[in-house]
Symmetry: C2
Subunit: 210 residues, 2 copies
């Protein structure tokens, strides 16, 4: 599909066709596209739990304020950010070194830099986890839209409940839930957007609402 | 351009063609596409400052560890998240009510819900600001790629310095810098990604690295 049509046609979908499923391979393909997103130092802090079995979706719904789309979508992803991505970074960057993209000294420098910054500031680590997971989630929504799938990002859930129910290690922060499937009738149209002048200023923050 | 090609061809660009500029209208168009991203309650917490004048880009570079791409790209966006998006929410939701998408009681309920949650938890407000800004930034990168433009998201900058230099009100948190322009030769190829099995588990967090 043409890219801008995908962006323009995307809506936050509430109503899914419960009869149409996605195969594990289709789900893996979506996550591969999500992982094409950029991240700081290429740390790729995004992680995905694909919830597809009906009984698991019901458990997830119960910690997401009972929202029906969680169990009606073909898959609901728990999109996570890794708060300790820097621990994986030396291994990740070695793959770029092995591919001849840059040298080991730069890899070492980056690993030290991220480790220092994130150990010094849990807030910086959390920002990176949320940012990376969100970039990947948007890439997933774009890829899904291209495939004729509907998506519904959600922040209405109990993070501790989700972590408990799905055995999620403490190093991960749930950034959002993301429902994916085929749409059913009855969804809202696109909601109005702020005008470009309400969200963009040139050259200074003084043009933004104080 | 075909959507998946845009995702696949995107790289975090370091080298920009300094001879090719973007008009203000082209920049406004990119931000319109960014704003097609989803957000919680449709709050649209993303804000953009487009830095295009050479002297402004030099000031921005100085608070971004002197990275040349900040001044070499046609535009460097300061991508912000609004920590007090809930204050704008009643006005934003009124536009959906006026468009007949849902009724005022639901709008009031959403506004109260977000206000309560974000006033009770500054961390929740910050997560939403970073998440919204990141979703919009990815949408902008996708739209830019479709137009043959190169992009470079950056987290290497001094947030306080950026806020001071550009007169950014305290309610906004810089989520990233985002350079946009035409690419020059000498960019890195795409960096290797973790395998899908390293970032995806089915049905449980136990499949992820503990």
């Amino acid at each position: 599909m043409e890219t801008l049509d995908v962006l323009k046609n995307r809506i936050s979908t509430n109503k899914f066709d419960t009869a149409r499923k996605l195969s594990d391979d289709e789900i893996r393909d979506l996550v591969r596209w999500a992982a094409e997103a950029p991240s700081a130092y290429n740390v790729q802090p995004w992680r995905f739990i694909a919830v597809t079995r009906q009984e698991d979706k019901e458990r997830l719904k119960a910690v997401a304020y009972g929202q029906p789309k969680v169990s009606e979508a073909a898959v609901t992803f728990i999109v996570l950010g890794d708060l300790r991505g820097y621990e994986r970074l030396p291994d990740i960057l070695k793959r770029s070194v092995d591919a001849g993209i840059f040298g080991q000294p730069m890899a070492d420098n980056w690993s030290q830099s991220m480790k220092g910054a994130h150990q010094a500031s849990p807030q910086a680590a959390r920002d990176e986890a949320i940012r990376g997971a969100s970039l990947a989630a948007m890439a997933l929504m774009v890829a899904a839209g291209d495939k004729g799938l509907a998506t519904g990002p959600m922040i209405g859930f109990d993070p501790q409940g989700v972590k408990r129910e799905f055995g999620i290690p403490d190093r991960y922060v749930p950034a959002m839930l993301l429902t994916v499937g085929y749409p059913a009738p009855g969804n809202w149209p696109r909601k109005p957007r702020l005008t470009v002048d309400e969200v963009l200023a040139f050259g200074s923050g003084k043009g933004l609402e104080p």
